[in-house]
Subunit: 623 residues, 2 copies
Amino acid sequence: MPTGTPATGTARLSLATVCLSGTLEDKLAAAATAGFDGVEIFAPDLLADPGSPAAIGARCRDLGLSVDLYQPLRDIDSTDPDRFAANLRRADATFEVMAGLGADTVLVCSSVSPDAVDPAADADLLAAQLHTLAARAHERGLRIAYEALAWGRHVDTWDASWDAVRAADHPALGLCLDSFHVLARGSDPAPIAEVPGGKLFFLQLADARELSMDVLSWSRHHRLFPGQGGFDLPAFLAPVLAAGYAGPLSLEVFNDVFRQSDPVRTAVDARRSLIALAEATALAGAGTDPVATAAPSLDGTAFVELTAGPELGRVLRALGFSRTGVHRTKQVERFEQGGARLLVNAAGTGSGAVAAIAVETPDPDASARRAARLCASPVPRATGPGEAEFAEIPAPDGTALFLCRTSGDAGPDSTHGPAWPHDFVGVDEAPAPGTGITGIDHVGLTQPYDAFDEAVLFHRAVLGLDPVGDGEYAAPFGLVRSRALADPRRRLRLALTVSVLRRGDWSPAVADPQYVALACDDVLATAAAARAAGVPLLAVPANYHDDLAARLDLPADTVAAYRELGVLHDRDAHGDYLQVCTELLGGRLFLALVQRTGTHDGHGWPDAPVRMAAHRRSRLARG
Amino acid sequence: MPTGTPATGTARLSLATVCLSGTLEDKLAAAATAGFDGVEIFAPDLLADPGSPAAIGARCRDLGLSVDLYQPLRDIDSTDPDRFAANLRRADATFEVMAGLGADTVLVCSSVSPDAVDPAADADLLAAQLHTLAARAHERGLRIAYEALAWGRHVDTWDASWDAVRAADHPALGLCLDSFHVLARGSDPAPIAEVPGGKLFFLQLADARELSMDVLSWSRHHRLFPGQGGFDLPAFLAPVLAAGYAGPLSLEVFNDVFRQSDPVRTAVDARRSLIALAEATALAGAGTDPVATAAPSLDGTAFVELTAGPELGRVLRALGFSRTGVHRTKQVERFEQGGARLLVNAAGTGSGAVAAIAVETPDPDASARRAARLCASPVPRATGPGEAEFAEIPAPDGTALFLCRTSGDAGPDSTHGPAWPHDFVGVDEAPAPGTGITGIDHVGLTQPYDAFDEAVLFHRAVLGLDPVGDGEYAAPFGLVRSRALADPRRRLRLALTVSVLRRGDWSPAVADPQYVALACDDVLATAAAARAAGVPLLAVPANYHDDLAARLDLPADTVAAYRELGVLHDRDAHGDYLQVCTELLGGRLFLALVQRTGTHDGHGWPDAPVRMAAHRRSRLARG
């Protein structure tokens, strides 16, 4: 683990214990393992721990973690003087805990209580109560970081919290800014740059998908790590840094999935998100990250490596691929057609799956160094003498990512040897005539349930891909979420899917399907040639084509051809997406022939339920 | 399966295929197995089926199912005449499908399209277009059931849809009423009674929890079967029946969990919900259900049967229970203290679990007949000669429910023999002095993921319990949902919990905990006596008690006693809930000593996370 790497230059990285699953013990160990510098300790985590605050503080120090924040102290101010006095007694107990922990800052949330002080009615009272609280903290050498909850009863925007802090005017009172509360309310973060940096006591970062639900539920269940959702976090972080904020970058992410996932894995994902955010902010001209480097400009897919299913070699030949080489030392064959290169690996169990995606990058060394800085270090690979030594990085779903070049020699500064095609020796076979396949359109990968958001961030950060599609559809055996990522030039596309709810016992669907979508310019011609050569094309129900004809008002001969070849056709305002799928080649893998028209940027999701039902049916029919 | 039972008198029961998981084949088979009379076929289910509409219609008839509705036809009206003409062509294709299916009614949803006709701007145009559509359907002997989606662009309330139907004035055009769309908008259903019954073409029923989210997401993901949520469905159904509606009672429930659960099980649950709803509506004075019977008035828990964990017998004696009998023919011992009766069954694997809950009901025969009518038929039981023959009904989580009597003889009309205590022979042991336990407060049961909502409905319908609590809390290894049910007199309480997301691989928590909460009047005295006798009480962290003392301002000696005995203390406006738990007695079972003050109606959920962390810790410590 990359402990101690100065991955974001000077900023310290911190993680709230609420982000992770487990008891406090699990959470602290995970944060340390992932290389965090500090933690925010969530009060309920401490209450359930058998150690005293002092023992917990010592445990943190032993793990190399500072306790950057204790949180939260809720509903402090009150229009009822007796209640406020009782609240101060609660605060004293919290200060006692903090003294034990060795934490100097406590998060105070704006009140949600019916007796909260309304500054519009009595700004002086709120200021006076916050001043009293801060003075009490100050006596003990502690600080109050005051935060506006987006659903606070009266104080519910960051500028309202800043008004209160200014009015209270105490050196031990400052702001806690939380990107969720600011961005979920649609507030403009730019004016934060005007706040004196010394008054920014703490910074909490979280991303989120755009969801239309009440902001409290959105916040408590669906926060994400920066880069996993749709918030513009660099535009939030930049003014905070410009104001002079010098504290840690800390993540506070309430997420139902992360709450029950392996905390070490979540913590590594979390740290990657902060490094990528610091980098993106620095590259946008703000911040002072001295090691920011732009993501590589990708040149497409060098190859996709498949483990050999029962019929894969035969099907590729019938699809018009030429076998152009065999690996010098491994049981791997190379197939090519147009710009599509597929390797078939005969080692292993051979049930058919995507083993690796090789990405074409102009400087594989630099790409690998950058990946390592993003908590995605290359793993050791067995390489024969004289073979290309390219970096292999495991993606969250276990697929290997290779960073490599297809052509050219290594430059003088490279530690790499020859490009990967040198690893193959030619075979004495006549080239196949082809069926019109021109390249690889995209690769579709079902993600493990816990790894979906992690995978989006991983590919976004490590490969510099952008999200280009976000969907959800009702598949026959449950809802499926999908996200597509691509480079700006659309040379590399990945389509990721996951069950919205983790699969249960009732699940007769094909488990975790994967596919390679092969691009062609005339899918009807390519599919017809493939069918004639014996490729097992997936049958599509006549009902689907009847409906399609009525919806799109298609000519009868087109519909007849669609029926014959099993074409699925999706149309949107930008163009059309036509696909013909093979039956399953093994347990989970299939190939798709894909034709795009116009600037259609989709991945066939509207037709996925029909395809999934058909794959299940064909598998049952074949026994 | 109860096919053909006239369970709701005259009403036919129908199920929308969207309610179920699977392909159309799975769904139709499940609806038939559960005993439904008909189905609504959802267009995407048909499109993915390889059979022609005629073949699908024939399959339905073979299964004894009528096709009561085909659905939906969307976005029909349009301010653009060309678009409306194209929409009519789509409608023709739909009518063609319906002719094949043998379905005479199609659901037309109010449009959500930007080009939808706004009746406020041009009521005549909407009326004319609906009239045209209805006339076209009428030519083919078909009918249009027009429904207001709660998120329709202009028509979004049931009365707006009724205005449109009245204005269009065509005999083949009527209303489809959907309880979700009516109740989610807070509309008053009472005026539905004024609509001519002949204009009510179709009725869709769905319940839902009160959730604060956009109504579209709420509708598409979180609908429930009647009795599982918070809507007052009898108050909705009554005016519909009063208006003279004579069509089927049909369920249309979009639910993320049901979409991926065993469809047969879901369909049985669905049918139970309709029978219970018809009964509740009839008992409230509306409808004509001739076999409605009120749920039995329960007299409490006759006994709870536990499978013997490693220490169970010893712990019960240390808790002050007396062993008062052994079963005549089975390896079962009877323990009693106050009104608490526990049976310990030594047969089986003996890892410790709740095997059965025996409910005290004045007329076990009538209760069993009613259960059978609610798709909860008693299962055969091995009973020795002369032993009590009480009904055993498996609850959704596999726990057995027994319907029985503790005292008295069978009445003249009963087929039952003696009350259950006759099955035990006395033992020659001195009664234990007791520790102050007075009865069984409640039983806590973790539910299988797919069975949570089913379990709520099951206990509500079969036992006549009411929901008395609904919560969600962040447990150490993921969020937990909880619902409590109780009879009106609080003689029987059940607390059900489930993971909000299905458990994954990372889950070091105690799996599926169960407990029996034993009532006492002075939990400190009872726990002290138990500890002195060697009961392994669960240690609670000092941090918890420090926080509790600050929150509730408790006297120092109370806090000291709490620390010593591991008391968990929850307070709300109604009173206090104090509990002391044992360590785990086997893999998942524990006992709790519970004292309530005032009218506190909770079940200790705020303290469950602390308890769960402590149980995991004590289990790890014991190895």
